[in-house]
Symmetry: C2
Subunit: 193 residues, 2 copies
Amino acid sequence: MQFWYEFASTYSYLAAMRVEEECGRAGVRVEYKPFLLGPIFTELLGIKDSPFNVEPVRGRYMWRDLERLCAKHALPWRRPSVFPRPTVLAARVALGSGPAIAKVTRAIFAANFGDDLDISDPDVLRKIVASAGGDGEAALARAQTAEVKAQLRANTAEAQRLGVFGAPDFVVGGELFFGQDRLEDAIAWAQRT
Amino acid sequence: MQFWYEFASTYSYLAAMRVEEECGRAGVRVEYKPFLLGPIFTELLGIKDSPFNVEPVRGRYMWRDLERLCAKHALPWRRPSVFPRPTVLAARVALGSGPAIAKVTRAIFAANFGDDLDISDPDVLRKIVASAGGDGEAALARAQTAEVKAQLRANTAEAQRLGVFGAPDFVVGGELFFGQDRLEDAIAWAQRT
C-alpha cells in the first residue's frame, strides 16, 4: 500500500502516526510517498494557501476535529503557530533518509503538530532526523541532491496522475483512498487484492 | 443526536441509510434535520453548483468512492443522471411527513441514488411518501405551507450557525461531526455525554 502525504497537512499527521502499526497488524507493507500539495492546490483550485485558510468555516471545523481525533488516538497535539509551514525541504529530507523514512516521517510530523517546531529550518530537521535514529547531516546533504529534488517532483506529478486532490491518500493497485479515516478501507482493499 | 442532511448529497445518502440502525444499536435517538446546502455553498464558496462539479478531479474521486462505499454497506447505487437535483421540495416533503420523516427520508434518498428518479417532481415524491407508508397527498400539501417553508429556512440558518460547510453532519450537544465516516465517532460522543 502506498501512503501519500504532505508534511503541512494536519490529517496526514494523524495517518502518519497510525499507518505503520495498522498495516503491520494487517500484514500489509507500506511504501512512503511524500509529495507537495501546494502545486496541486494551485492547479486545481487556483490558490496559494491551504484551503483551510481560504475557507475559514471549514478551517475552524478542522482545528476542532484535530483536537478530538488526536485525543481519540492518544496522539500529542499542538496547533502549529504557522500554518501551513513550507515543506519542500522536509519532504526532501524524508526522501533523503533512505530506509529510515518511516521513522523520520513520523518524527517530522510530530515536530510540526506535536511540538510546533519550524520544520522548514535545516537545523531543526537535522535534529529531528538524529532523534529518529538517522544521520542528520547525511540526510540534509542528500536532500540537496538533484536526484532527491527530482524524486519529489516525480512524486508530486505521480500524485496528480493518480487523481490526488488532498492528503493523506492511500493507493492500492491504482485504487485511491482519500483521507485518514479511510485507512481501514484501504487496508481491507490491500488484503483482498 | 441530530442528523443534518441534504437530499442532493451523495454522502448524505450513505449516512441516511445507516444512521437509524447504528444509532438504534447504540441506544441513541436520532433527530432528522434536512437543510439546503445550496445557499451555504453560495455564501461560503461563491458557487451555484456542487463542489464536485466545480472541482472535477474531486468529483471523479467521489463517484468512484460512492460505488465502493455502497458495495461495502450493501446499498443500492445508481449514479443520478442529473446531479445535483433541486431538493427544496423534497426537503419540505420530508419536514411535512411528521413522524414518518425517518422512513420518508430513506425513501427519497433511495429514489435519488438507488433508482435515479427525479425527486424534484411532485408526482414522484407523492409515490415515494406512499411507498414509505405515509400519506403522499397530505405530505405534499403540508410541504406547501408557510410553516414548513419557514422550518426549512430555519434549519438552513441553524446549520450555518453550527458551522456546517457540507453534508452530512452529526451534532451532539453543539459538537459538529462532518462526513458519513464520522457516524461512529458522533455516536460514541453521544454515549459519553
